[in-house]
């Protein structure tokens, strides 16, 4: 009879602990999914920007040097592996900005320029959402319990790419 006094609370505790582990695991799973979603949205926008940059480089009257830089970074941003891509996105963002500063681009191509401004604004929002998802996931994954029981499974640790940090501005 004595044993049940010890056994029941112990079992209850064990169940509670197991429940907590599964709860945390599903929480992590959800977070990883959130990172994927936010990256998908950001990725789509970046592709749009690259496509727009290509369009700009084909325009008549664009400075050949600028056009070449645009083509190259647009190509890299659209194709490259993620490590190179970060650099390419940085380059693309800088070139687009350069385009606005150096030429009367806006007067000549109001519609296209409008679209680029639009995409750039949306990229900033998408970056913030992605950074936030990555940050939250990182905080949760660094908890000792999560690491000890490998609750994150084999999911790769999400990272914020360098271009997202340099691209940060106050919205």
């Amino acid at each position: 009879m004595m044993e049940s006094y010890i056994l029941f609370p112990l079992l209850a505790l064990l169940f509670l602990f197991i429940w907590y582990l599964t709860f945390t695991a599903s929480r992590l799973d959800r977070l990883h999914h959130r990172v994927e979603t936010s990256w998908a949205a950001l990725d789509a926008l970046l592709q749009q920007r690259a496509a727009l940059a290509l369009e700009v480089s084909h325009l008549p009257g664009v400075d050949p040097a600028v056009a070449m830089v645009l083509t190259q970074s647009a190509f890299l941003a659209g194709e490259a592996e993620i490590a190179e891509r970060s650099e390419a996105e940085d380059g693309l963002a800088a070139t687009v900005e350069l385009l606005y500063e150096t030429e009367d681009f806006h007067q000549k191509n109001p519609a296209l320029s409008e679209r680029i401004t639009n995409v750039s604004k949306r990229i900033e929002v998408a970056m913030r959402l992605h950074r936030e998802a990555v940050h939250t996931t990182g905080v949760q994954r660094s908890r000792p319990l999560v690491r000890l029981f490998r609750l994150a499974g084999r999911a790769p640790l999400p990272v914020v790419h360098p271009f997202e940090i340099s691209g940060e501005r106050t919205l």
């Binding site: 929480r27 959800r30 977070l31 959130r34 979603t37 936010s38 998908a40 949205a41 789509a44 949306r122 929002v125 998408a126 913030r128 959402l129 950074r131 936030e132 998802a133 940050h135 939250t136 905080v139 919205l171």
Partner: protein, 410 residues
């Protein structure tokens, strides 16, 4: 303004009683109308006091709200097992593409909906609680719940930094919207223009709205402007408020009671200077945006929320929060100078453009777009109940969470 290239089935959740006045409810109603105009299907789940008086056909009542004093006002919230069951039913019966939850951190319908569902969800945080201890004492419980939101929207930089410091989570800032066009053609009322008039709108009985501060400043302003009149609008007991000020000044003060939207616009148009002496607890200040939209000269305290709306003094002037001497000095100077007042009034409308619903709505739709990308198998995710994905609920007889699908009713 279309960014989404498909029509969504959207669920909006209001934390506060639909029939009680309040900025959050107004915001949700306007947003619902905008989304419907854009061709989306909208259903709003909200606590409702009197279901028979409900006029908005897109609102689904979730039960009667419970009044709870909070942040200097009374919040009408709804919580508990019955409400939870209503939320589950609402989500099961509607095949939502997206859930937009307002105030998900406040223990009400928003928090319930967020904790019970999974999928594309976005939350808007309206509150910037300076009395944070009450609001965020439940952070450990709330954190894993609001973490489900794919995106967080804060209505101002103040609301955003509240989130950053207390829940360590970042948000996109999208201000509250106003219908700019409806403010454009207001005309002034003669009886509100006699003499030099300054205006105040708000629930003046609340200390943080700052009417007593304005009253402290009035004698000093009257010294320089003997023809000064003070117009006060908003619900409350005027006798009580009059006790704060010297009886010799009573004749200059007019209480107008609650104003209709139309009267409010006339009010802004009529007064020489609109004063917002609030001392705290504001997260946005929609009233300032409305004053700007009408084209009023504005003097407001330099609360972070007001500095955000007035863009740090670009569309109005600021005085030091809680400092009646500064208020009196700035107000007298401005009233001395009708030309500046006119200029301020003429350009403040322009400052309200960024709060216009088409602008704000586009930003919100952008966020909707971001959190509902097409998955790799080419399908879009739907909002579902967390309980539905639990193994023991997958059995045919499936537990408590079964509800008939009902496409006919909103």
């Amino acid at each position: 303004m279309v960014t989404l290239n498909r029509k969504l089935n959207i669920g909006l959740v209001s934390p506060y009683g639909w029939d009680a006045p309040g900025g959050v409810q107004v915001h949700i109603r306007d947003l619902a109308h905008l989304l419907i105009r854009e061709g989306h299907r909208v259903s709003v789940l909200a606590p409702v006091e009197d279901e028979d008086a409900l006029r908005d056909e897109f609102v689904v009542p979730a039960g009667r709200p419970i009044p709870i004093p909070y942040n200097g006002a009374v919040a009408r919230v709804l919580f508990g097992p019955v409400a939870a069951s209503r939320v589950r039913q609402w989500i099961s019966q509607n095949d939502f593409d997206l859930l937009h939850i307002h105030e998900p951190a406040i223990p009400s319908l928003g928090l319930l909906a967020c904790s019970l569902s999974d999928g594309p969800m976005v939350g808007t945080f309206h509150v910037a609680a300076e009395r944070i201890r009450i609001a965020f004492a439940i952070v450990p419980i709330v954190e894993p719940i609001i973490e489900r939101l794919r995106a967080r929207i804060a209505v101002s930089e103040v609301a955003r930094s509240t989130l950053l410091t207390h829940v360590d989570t970042d948000a996109v800032v999208i201000p509250n919207g106003i219908d700019l066009a409806s403010f454009a053609d207001a005309s002034p009322r003669l009886e509100w223009q006699l003499g030099k008039t300054i205006g105040f709108i708000g629930r003046f009985a609340e200390k943080r709205k700052g009417l007593s501060l304005l009253f402290e400043a009035v004698p000093a302003i009257v010294d320089r402007h003997p023809d000064l009149r003070i117009l006060i609008a908003g619900p409350g007991e005027s006798e009580e408020a009059l006790e704060w000020i010297d009886p010799s000044l009573h004749s200059r003060i007019t209480f107008l009671g609650m104003l209709s939207d139309e009267e409010k616009r006339q009010f802004f148009k009529s007064v020489d200077l609109y004063i917002a002496p609030n001392t705290g607890g504001e997260s946005f200040g929609i009233i300032l945006a409305e004053a700007m939209a009408t084209g009023a000269a504005i003097l407001a305290s330099d609360l972070p929320a007001f500095r955000f709306v007035l863009d740090d003094g670009r569309w109005g002037r600021h005085f030091r929060t809680g400092d009646w001497m500064d208020l009196a000095r700035k107000a007298s100077e401005l009233l001395d100078d009708p030309k500046t007042l006119e200029e301020m009034a003429a350009k403040s409308h322009q400052g309200a453009e960024r709060f216009d619903w088409p602008v704000v709505g586009r930003q919100i739709l952008d966020v909707y777009d971001f959190i509902t990308p097409k998955s790799e198998n080419g399908e879009y995710e739907k909002v579902r109940l967390v309980a539905d994905s639990r193994p023991w609920n997958r059995f045919p007889l499936g537990g408590l969470n079964r509800f008939e699908k009902n496409d006919g009713r909103v």
